[in-house]
Symmetry: C2
Subunit: 391 residues, 2 copies
Amino acid sequence: MTGSARAHRLANIAPFEVMEVLDAARRLEATGVDVIHLEVGEPDFLTPAPVLRAAQAAIDAHPMFYTSALGMPELREAISSWYASTFAVDIPAERIAVTAGSSAALLLALAAVINPGDAALISDPGYPCNRNFVRLFDAEPILVPSGPEDRYQLTSRLARAAWTPATRVAIAASPSNPTGTTMTQDEWVALADVCRTNGGTLIADEIYQGLVYDHPPQTVLSVIDDVWVVNSFSKYFQMTGWRVGWMVIPDGAAREIEKLAQNIYISPTTPSQYGALAALSPEGIAILEERREELGARRDVLLEALPQIGFAVRARPEGAFYIYCDVSEHTDDSFAFARWLLEETGVAVTPGRDFGVAAPEQHIRIAYTQPIDRLREAVARIGDAVGRARL
Amino acid sequence: MTGSARAHRLANIAPFEVMEVLDAARRLEATGVDVIHLEVGEPDFLTPAPVLRAAQAAIDAHPMFYTSALGMPELREAISSWYASTFAVDIPAERIAVTAGSSAALLLALAAVINPGDAALISDPGYPCNRNFVRLFDAEPILVPSGPEDRYQLTSRLARAAWTPATRVAIAASPSNPTGTTMTQDEWVALADVCRTNGGTLIADEIYQGLVYDHPPQTVLSVIDDVWVVNSFSKYFQMTGWRVGWMVIPDGAAREIEKLAQNIYISPTTPSQYGALAALSPEGIAILEERREELGARRDVLLEALPQIGFAVRARPEGAFYIYCDVSEHTDDSFAFARWLLEETGVAVTPGRDFGVAAPEQHIRIAYTQPIDRLREAVARIGDAVGRARL
């Protein structure tokens, strides 16, 4: 049969366990059970109204034709101005590529820097797609186990020790999915130094940048210039389904990224770009900042409650909307534990397996994408369950 | 510097010449010249009003969250029904993946079937991105020169002769960009047979499927089942900036495509998917069919007029909105000729160089994405210019 041959890379690309959990949760819901969804990495807030209104108005006012491959000039300018006003860094619009979500940004960055057979350092635990993007290009992800002592980050110490002759790229995320921990500016500088020393390239994932609760948001661009930065309108800006993100391109590489984007994507979605413009407006930001406070309050509730039910939080999650819990007090198989929790309590969480191979069976990820009363209810249900039947 | 290393593949990925032409045309326009744009591969029609209204309504009525990685179930069902009603073929919704434009469909299909070092057969002339997608995966595009005797298509005769031990994939398009020629069903069957015999995979590009003017549209799926089909809401459905397309996945491969799509894209754009649903409605199709008639009339005007100014059309363009002209009567350098035409007449066309290496200097592509009076005006201007100053 033509169509039946398969590329080797498919064997190494795993599905998301969280999707299996989600399916199981929905099946349970369909039987009438009240399920509390703490598994999905998507904010529960609707896209802010100014974004909706701007997209609707643009659909009437402008032809929804292709835009430039790197995005509408006015949106690139708006992102540049946002860097200046939020972080006091000067990122010219020419270095900003608007992309079809941060997924496209990561794909473009890796397409530009990695060759088959190269290796890329990635923290373990870490966002599962990162290693699969590396595999897409027939390069090898090196999962670097990182524990509480490194705040689950790819620190310079760990990167230096894990670097191999084939290593060309290091990818770090701040705040991180699934742990919510951030990189300090000093850690970014030290990690970039390891990359430079070894002739490697640093990719910084700032997808959750705006969602931090202990200090103002920061960007690696304040302290390093020779870095690829991927960012997103999905999380802080709450535009998941719009599929729009961006990348900051190192000096001198914009033309090459433009060629790649022309070929691979043609252009980002036009209505979404008009929406993103409104997300950056003062009106948009005001709504998002209120929601950030709400998310911070949710985190604080869980940080207090989780240890009381034996869900240990080993490194303070300063951002994103995730808490990575050590549940080894209850189980040595977090996958089975997550299934048991769902069936027993109707609370859906993500087992550690999605995020790497370093002790995933001891960990689960909780996403606080539900209101505080639902979070309290989830903790109460779990507390009851683990009180009467520890696995 | 970290960030300064580059992947080898970049050296082989060329920018679109058409973009350079477009830039030059816009610069000329800015000086006050009335430019007739026959260079861009984008319909001049606005997205049909029912699509605009549906997207705007959905933005109010539904959360714009991520959808399933393979698209909203109702859109996959609607595409399945459209195959049944338009072509009387039974394609279950489970085999349909909604994608971020046909670009994403082609990337997913190639990611699923091609390995580094493999080769893929592509017609020359052909759509420039196809070869660059192959290069993205560090595989080798084999450009198969195809002339009027093969109607510029990758026929089974040419594919058989060009097949090498490394060849794993053949990509053919019907109708084709830049030539507008179609594959007959017999040609599809014969090409699939060559692929099967050699253990290869056939990818069918039906992006311009609905835009044919001499016979009803057809799909390769009426005669072959073991084929990857990419399609688009951009061209016939006139939704370019919405970035939504689809793929028909061969039996048994949907789960693997879902894993890839989860990782590479998360999901297609949500507002665009609601728009696409309306494009498939009877109201949407009625508008599109009127526009198809208009495009057919434009083609007929050019088919009569172009030979009179020495622009030879060597194979009848039955579809898309392109005419591939042999301009060797006027030049042996179509790139210089296109520049000269733009400066001398204000008519922008695309030089052959974008479409391959087989005699590009003899050819230009004309896109009839302008109303008939503008097309007549363009031909008149060119006629005057070549009458008084042949290159």
